[in-house]
């Protein structure tokens, strides 16, 4: 069952949500950076940009997550669990961001081990996604299976802006349903005309995404191109920073370190890490299997479009194109994998 | 010592050859200074790595004092001359980052200037206190 919400009511809805939950939505600051920030009022929401500079990933999979606090004194060692995560709403992310949660979630529940921290947070998070009206030149979500500017994977509630100043609201999960029933005064039932308008919206939006990759073909090609001489030159412009991986909605690699305050108190912290860093694979003795910048560069693309496909039958990428924009030297992930 | 200002931490990096001995001399001469300063002995002000000063502020120091031999008296001949160049640059940069100029100081204290050391520490403590109390 689909519903309609008037665009002006969205701010009112946000105001009400803020009263009971932590609401994160795109916010613009003085330097024109648009990031997911905690809203103090619905008016702070900035809905005019297509993509935020970084993803909403860090609201569920924190860039630095405290596993537990450690107190070590003469009486022994005591471990203290962190506070339970709060009820959270991520509002206004895009379908590509939302799909990232789905991909990371599978990884964190993989191989018989359940990542408690991620799972707890995602269970308490409601993801409200807005379909993309104006995809940009860096977008390539339609290359993926079911990928589209109106894709609902990973979302709890999908809003699609229609022409008459209202949005079509579709609940994807029970959490999304709860928003509609809980704030029903903002939602009215949609008819067949609106459903049809959404299909038009989809066709229009998809038309704007011109780049389409043949991902199964690329996967096959990558199977045999580990030793390709292409990598010898392709990596040269790359400066091996971690911008691409840190703005990626699907990159999940992490490091576990200790943050010591003094000799008694410390915290075990998980922080994002990047395969582009030399330290990523360097062992204590100094041996590093991926010491070569070429190997690290190759690892990123191979992992995303080949290794991960072997394990999960889907690419570790949602086509948001953030890495292309964030890259200081404008390396285009699409052309790299196409040109191998 | 009774003239300690509560809850104020000042890190003093003192050169081994002059200021550290000077601090010793303070006690011998029965001069007192606020015990807010926590002394770390360094080989020479020329060895004073700016990273450590930044680290000290990062770890919650309210003030930092670096003290060494008078120019011309360096045990290593020229270490403090380098420090004399590094200091204004570092102070200016820290200030740009919002670390008030009252929080970072340098001084020349020789091994015999126990009294001067006490004066310096008093002055530094007063400045840091002023920063904390008056913003």
């Amino acid at each position: 069952m689909a519903y309609l919400i008037i665009k002006d009511d969205i701010k009112n809805l946000l105001d009400e949500l803020i009263k009971v939950k932590a609401v994160f939505a795109p916010k613009k600051d003085a330097e024109d950076t648009v990031l997911f920030g905690k809203l103090a009022s619905g008016a702070e929401w900035y809905g005019d940009s297509l993509l935020t500079h970084t993803t909403a990933k860090d609201k569920v999979y924190l860039q630095s997550e405290t596993f537990f606090k450690i107190k070590k004194d003469k009486n022994g060692v005591f471990l203290e669990d962190p506070a339970e995560p709060a009820e959270t709403v991520i509002f206004g992310c895009r379908p590509c961001d939302a799909r990232g949660f789905d991909i990371i979630g599978k990884l964190f529940n993989w191989s018989g081990f359940v990542d408690e921290y991620y799972t707890k947070r995602i269970q308490k998070t409601t993801i409200i996604t807005i379909s993309c009206e104006k995809p940009e030149s860096t977008c390539f979500c339609t290359s993926f299976l079911n990928g589209s500017p109106v894709n609902s994977t990973g979302s709890d509630l999908l809003l699609t802006p229609l022409k008459e100043g209202s949005c079509l609201a579709e609940a994807i999960t029970a959490k999304g349903e709860a928003i509609i029933t809980g704030y029903s005064r903002y939602f009215k039932e949609a008819g067949a005309a609106e459903e049809k308008a959404k299909i038009e919206f989809k066709t229009e939006a998809e038309k704007k995404i011109t780049k389409k990759l043949d991902l199964p073909g690329i996967k096959q090609k990558l199977d045999t191109s580990f030793d390709s001489s292409y990598w010898d030159t392709a990596h040269l412009p790359c400066v091996k920073c971690g911008a691409c991986t840190f703005v990626c909605p699907t990159c999940y690699c992490f490091d576990i370190t200790e943050k010591a305050f003094d000799n008694i108190n410390s915290e075990r912290v998980r922080s994002w890490d990047t395969c582009m860093s030399e330290l990523f694979t360097r062992m204590a003795g100094g041996v590093n299997p991926r010491i070569d910048t070429k190997k690290r560069f190759r690892q990123r693309f191979m992992h995303k479009f080949n290794y991960h496909v072997d394990n999960f039958k889907e690419e570790l990428c949602t086509g948001c194109g953030r890495c292309i924009k964030a890259c200081p030297v404008s390396i285009d992930i699409r052309s790299v994998i196409e040109n191998v | 010592m009774d003239n300690k200002v509560p809850q104020l931490n000042i890190v003093g990096f003192l050169c081994n050859w002059c200021s550290y001995a000077g601090a010793d001399m303070t006690g011998l001469g029965r001069n007192t200074y606020p015990s807010n300063i926590k002394v770390i002995r360094i080989p020479c002000t020329g060895r004073m790595d700016p990273m450590m000063i930044i680290e000290a502020f990062h770890n919650g120091a309210d003030g930092v004092l670096v003290s060494g031999c008078h120019p011309g008296d360096c045990h290593y001949t020229e270490g403090n001359y380098y420090w004399r160049r590094r200091y204004p640059h570092l102070k200016s940069l820290l200030e740009h980052f919002g670390i008030d100029k009252r929080r970072f100081h340098a001084s020349w204290v020789s091994a015999s200037e126990g009294k001067k050391f006490a004066e310096v520490v008093k002055k530094v403590t007063a400045e840091v206190k002023d920063w904390r109390d008056n913003g």
Binding site: E31, T33, G242, P328 | P50, M51, H58, E95, H96
Partner: protein, 279 residues
């Protein structure tokens, strides 16, 4: 101009004067370029130069130390080459500097010209081995007005400003990695013994990273703005790099990458240096 550039590089490559030519090529759309590494004469057709060529290619000199390189530089990138040569990271004989006349570049994030281009005295490159094209320098000279304006703030305001900036920082190290003079193979940020910087990302840790990085590039930073334009979350690092340039100029009358004979300010001293308020 592209044609002239391509022909020149074609010539250099055919005559085997260089192994690599590093220039710019079109990236993902008309408004973006990326560094291009060209090794054969046939490949030169992709080289271009336009107002979107924002990267400072001097960065790659320290990564290809053993090769002979033709490097396309805007006027503002040439000090980088000089600075690296001065720091003995690269020998001047191994690099052919091709100056590209530039009418100012556009920041891809804002679509506007950055401040450095508005007050630029090196639009027509100075000190290049070859120069391609002509451009007219800005009528206004480079100045430190914006930094001076920022300096007027109280330390509390400055602190709040930077806290807000470093709250955004994701510590991707793009600023460090695009910096031509940040070439240490073992950066303090990744050392574990002693551990200066924790992996934990929060505003305080991030601020410390930037403070130490800025301190480390003092007297070496040529204020090329590579870090500023690289930042994926738009932290105005130019406020810091420009401050370094201003301090070097005001405290030590030194300009990085300008005079090949001048000693870097912190690696020398004068017995008559001022006391600068040392008690």
């Amino acid at each position: 101009m592209d044609k002239e550039l391509q022909d020149l590089i074609k010539k250099l490559l055919t005559e085997k004067k260089v192994d690599y030519a590093i220039g710019y090529e079109k990236a993902y759309d008309e408004f973006s370029t990326r560094p291009a590494f060209v090794t054969s004469a046939e490949d030169t057709a992709r080289l271009i130069f336009n107002k979107y060529c924002i990267n400072n290619l001097g960065l790659y000199l320290t990564k290809l130390k053993k090769n002979k390189i033709a490097l396309i530089c805007k006027g503002c990138d040439i000090p980088t080459v000089r600075e690296l040569v001065k720091e003995k990271q690269f020998s001047r004989e191994n690099v052919i500097v091709i100056g590209a006349a530039c009418d100012g570049v556009l920041d891809k994030r804002t679509g506007k010209q950055p401040e450095k281009c508005l007050n630029c005295g090196v639009k027509q490159p100075k000190g290049a081995d070859f120069t391609v094209g002509t451009a007219k320098d800005s009528t206004t000279a480079r100045n430190f007005n914006d930094v001076a304006e920022f300096e007027k703030k109280s330390s509390k305001e400055k602190m709040q400003f930077w806290d807000r900036q470093f709250e955004k920082c994701i510590r991707c190290y793009a600023c460090r990695n695009v910096c031509p003079v940040c070439y240490c193979p073992d950066c303090f940020a990744q050392r574990s013994m002693p551990e200066y910087l924790n992996k934990n990302v929060d505003a305080e840790e991030n601020k410390m990273f930037h403070m130490i990085r800025m301190q480390h590039v003092f007297g070496r930073c040529t204020d090329c703005k590579a870090c500023d334009t690289a930042c994926p979350v738009n932290i105005p690092l130019t406020l810091l790099t420009k401050k370094l340039a201003k301090d070097a100029k005001e405290l030590f009358n030194y300009e990085s990458g300008a005079d090949m004979d001048a000693r870097p300010p912190l690696s020398t001293y004068d017995e008559d240096d001022p006391e600068s308020g040392i008690m």
